[in-house]
C-alpha cells in the first residue's frame, strides 16, 4: 500500500516543536552553567584537598560516568523523591540530573585546564604582590577558561543532544513535542523527517557559533 506524506499536521502543531527546541537549548544552557560551577568547585577541591576529598570527588566522577544517563534521569525523578517523601517538577529534576551529569565530565576538563596554567604566571603574580584570591581571579581563572573553551563547547553540544532524554519524564522539549504529534496525529514519518533535521541544523549552528567564539578568545597562534 502506498503511503502519502502529509506534513499539514506537523505544521499545524509546529509551535510544539519550536517551543520544544527553545526549551531543549535552555535546558542544555542552564545545565552546563550549573555543571560548570560543580565541575570547577570539585576540580579545585580535588587539587587542594586531602585524600578524603579526592576520594569523594573520584567516586562521584566514576559513578556518574559509568551509569547510563537515562538511569540517572529516572533515579533523580522517581527514585530520590520516593525515598524522601517530597516531589519536584520534571523540568527541575532533569536540569538537576543533567547538571550533575555534566559536572562529572567537566571536573576532568577543569582539572586539565588548571594544570595547563603555567607555573611562571602564578609566580609572577606572587612577585608583584597579588593576594592568593587575586592570583586566582586575575590569573588562573581567565587563563584556564581560555584553555578549556573548546572542551566546553563540545560538552554543550553533547548536552544539547542529551536533552532529548528529558522526553521520558514528560519535559516538553523537542523530542517530547515530536512524540506528542506522533501520538496525536499518527504522522510519525513526517514528524521525524522534520525533527531529525531540526536537531542536526541546530547542533551544527551552535557548533559554528561556538567555534567562532573560540577563535575570538583562543590563546595566541590562530589570530
Amino acid at each position: 500500500m502506498e503511503y502519502h506524506l502529509n506534513f499539514n499536521f506537523v505544521w499545524k502543531y509546529a509551535d510544539k516543536l519550536w517551543w520544544g527546541l527553545a526549551l531543549s537549548v535552555q535546558l542544555a544552557f542552564v545545565s552546563i552553567l550549573i555543571g560548570c560551577v560543580i565541575g570547577l568547585a570539585l576540580a579545585l577541591a580535588h587539587s587542594g584537598g586531602n585524600r578524603w576529598t579526592r576520594g569523594a570527588v573520584a567516586a562521584y566522577v566514576e559513578f556518574v560516568r559509568n551509569v547510563p544517563l537515562l538511569l540517572l534521569v529516572y533515579l533523580v525523578f522517581y527514585g530520590i523523591p520516593s525515598a524522601g517523601g517530597f516531589a519536584y517538577d520534571a523540568t527541575t529534576s532533569f536540569v538537576a540530573t543533567l547538571a550533575i551529569y555534566s559536572g562529572a565530565y567537566l571536573v576532568e576538563v577543569f582539572r586539565a585546564g588548571l594544570d595547563a596554567v603555567p607555573r611562571g604566571v602564578i609566580d609572577a603574580g606572587k612577585a608583584i604582590g597579588l593576594t592568593p584570591w587575586q592570583r586566582f581571579v586575575e590569573l588562573r581563572l581567565p587563563i584556564m577558561l581560555r584553555v578549556v573553551l573548546p572542551s566546553l563547547s563540545n560538552a554543550f553540544i553533547s548536552l544539547f543532544k542529551d536533552t532529548s532524554l528529558a522526553s521520558v519524564i514528560a519535559v516538553p522539549e523537542l523530542t517530547y513535542g515530536a512524540n506528542w504529534i506522533k501520538t496525536n496525529t499518527f504522522r510519525q514519518v513526517e514528524v521525524w523527517l522534520v525533527v531529525w533535521p531540526i536537531y542536526l541544523v541546530t547542533g551544527w549552528a551552535i557548533l559554528a557559533a561556538l567555534r567562532q567564539l573560540e577563535r575570538r578568545f583562543s590563546l595566541g597562534r590562530r589570530r
Binding site: 551509569v67 544517563l69 522517581y78 527514585g79 530520590i80 532524554l165 523530542t175 515530536a178 506522533k182 536537531y199
Partner: protein, 216 residues
C-alpha cells in the same frame, strides 16, 4: 533489604543479559563498519571521503534517542518493516560505527606515510600493507580509546528500553511497576551498569598506560 535484592536480582539478571547481547552485537557490527570507514577516511579518494564525512557528521550530530526513533519509524516508510530489536540495533550500530570510524581514522593517519611507502617499495599489495604494516602499528593507538568508548555503547544500549526491549533498564522499570520501590531497584541496576563499565574504564586506562611509550 537483602531479601528484596535477592527476589529482584533474577529479573534484573535477565535484563542484564539482553543489555550485554545488544552491546555485543553493536560492538561487533560497528567495529567492522567503523574500521572499514576509517580506512576509507585515511586512504580513500575524495568521492569516498566526502560521503563518509557526511554520514559520520549526520550520525554523530543526531541524539542517539532521536536516531533510534528515526530508524524505528522511518525505515518502514522506506519499505523495511523492522521489529524493535533489529531497528534499535541498527540505530546503535550506525551511531557507534561513526565514532569507531573517527577513532580508526585518527589511529591510521598517525602512522607515518613513509611506512606505507616502504611497504609499496617491497611490493606489498594494498591489503598486505594494511594487514602487515598499518594495522599492527595503528592498533596501539586504536585500542585504548576504543575500549573506553565501549562504555558508551553499554550506556547507550539503555535507550533500547524506550522502544520496548526488556534490557536491564526496562527490567528495572518492570520490577518497580510491581514493587513500587523505585530507589533500591534503580540503585541496584545502577550498580550493575557500574560494575561492567568501571571494569571497562580500568581496562582502558591500563591499556593506555601499557601503550604510553609510543607517545613520546
Amino acid at each position: 533489604m537483602i531479601d528484596f535484592a535477592l527476589r529482584t536480582l533474577p529479573f534484573l539478571w535477565d535484563g542484564l543479559l539482553v543489555t550485554l547481547h545488544v552491546s555485543a552485537v553493536v560492538l561487533v557490527a560497528s567495529l567492522a563498519l567503523g574500521v572499514a570507514a576509517g580506512v576509507g577516511f585515511a586512504y580513500g579518494p575524495l568521492w569516498v571521503r566526502l560521503p563518509l564525512r557526511l554520514c559520520s557528521d549526520v550520525l554523530r550530530g543526531t541524539p542517539l534517542l532521536v536516531l533510534i526513533f528515526c530508524v524505528y519509524y522511518l525505515l518502514p516508510f522506506a519499505g523495511l518493516n523492522l521489529q524493535p530489536f533489529p531497528a534499535a540495533v541498527i540505530a546503535l550500530s550506525a551511531f557507534k560505527s561513526a565514532h569507531v570510524a573517527e577513532i580508526a581514522r585518527g589511529a591510521i593517519s598517525s602512522i607515518a606515510p613513509g611506512q606505507v611507502d616502504a611497504g609499496k617499495a617491497i611490493g606489498l599489495t594494498f591489503a598486505q600493507r594494511l594487514a602487515w604494516v598499518v594495522f599492527p602499528q595503528a592498533l596501539r593507538r586504536f585500542l585504548p580509546p576504543w575500549v573506553n568508548s565501549v562504555t558508551d555503547t553499554v550506556k547507550g544500549s539503555s535507550l533500547v528500553s524506550l522502544v520496548g526491549i526488556v534490557d536491564l533498564m526496562l527490567a528495572a522499570q518492570q520490577v518497580i511497576g510491581r514493587t513500587y520501590e523505585p530507589l533500591p531497584v534503580y540503585v541496584l541496576a545502577a550498580l550493575m551498569y557500574f560494575a561492567i563499565n568501571y571494569a571497562l574504564s580500568v581496562a582502558s586506562r591500563r591499556l593506555e598506560a601499557r601503550f604510553a611509550y609510543i607517545r613520546e
